[in-house]
Symmetry: C2
Subunit: 116 residues, 2 copies
DNA sequence: CTCGATACTCAGATCATCTCTATATTGACC
DNA sequence: GGTCAATATAGAGATGATCTGAGTATCGAG
């Protein structure tokens, strides 16, 4: 799962949102570090709908513009849960590997090779 | 940063390894859930070397076969550190969003929309 | 003598994402 | 009155990391 996909599912987890709402929620959740591009988002919404990870919740018309709301399906929640687990394992591995690196002097050849 | 790239940098963080060693270390670190394909690995090693995130440590010849060892550069360590931070933020966001979903009944339309 | 493990390389294809553009409405600013 | 930013969705074309699959070669075990 790539980043934009992950954030879309994450944004939709608690309740349905329309496309633009997903963009805003992602910006907020990521602390401003991730800004979904419109082109990426709407293509992903179509793809995820086809895959059954999300589905159309309802259409609203506000000021003459359509707002299409999407909601996470149980398959989508499962996929996000699995991805979260994967993330947790990755984070643990990298953290521990980086800690080992720091303990042995950031690349000094001799120190590095001790104990392996 | 994509998954294979992440695991390559993670595997190289504590000390230099040759290509095949990176594959083995990744399998071990990921608890067997990630198996780097040879084609993916060696292409990535070339790319990461060109980008300066890793560099050639030394060449060894064992049983007539060359083992090329790579080591993480300080740029590479920095990149992996940044990626780790990104991962931590993503994990936090998804965990909290999924928790909110569970608290309000996994998609029941009315309960979902409470309080937003 | 075949099989699995070791060790690296390359060609071709896929596909999610990115960039850019288009369309349309509303409200604010000057 | 005109432009700009925000809201809201959509499509075309390009990119590029990754995947698949095959190839090459050595060594030890069964």
């Amino acid at each position: 799962m790539r980043e934009p996909t992950f954030w879309i599912l994450t944004a939709l987890a608690p309740q349905p949102r329309h496309g633009y709402g997903v963009i805003q929620q992602t910006t907020q959740l990521s602390g401003g570090t991730v800004t979904l591009q419109a082109g990426t988002l709407y293509a992903a919404l179509d793809r995820l709908t086809a895959e059954g990870l999300i589905e159309i919740d309802r259409d609203e018309i506000v000021d003459g513009r359509t707002r299409r709301y999407y909601r996470l399906t149980s398959d989508g929640a499962e996929a996000l849960g699995a991805e979260t687990e994967r993330l947790r394992r990755s984070l643990e591995a990298a953290t521990s590997q980086l800690a080992t690196r720091r303990r042995f002097g950031l690349g000094l050849a001799d120190a590095q090779r001790v104990a392996w």
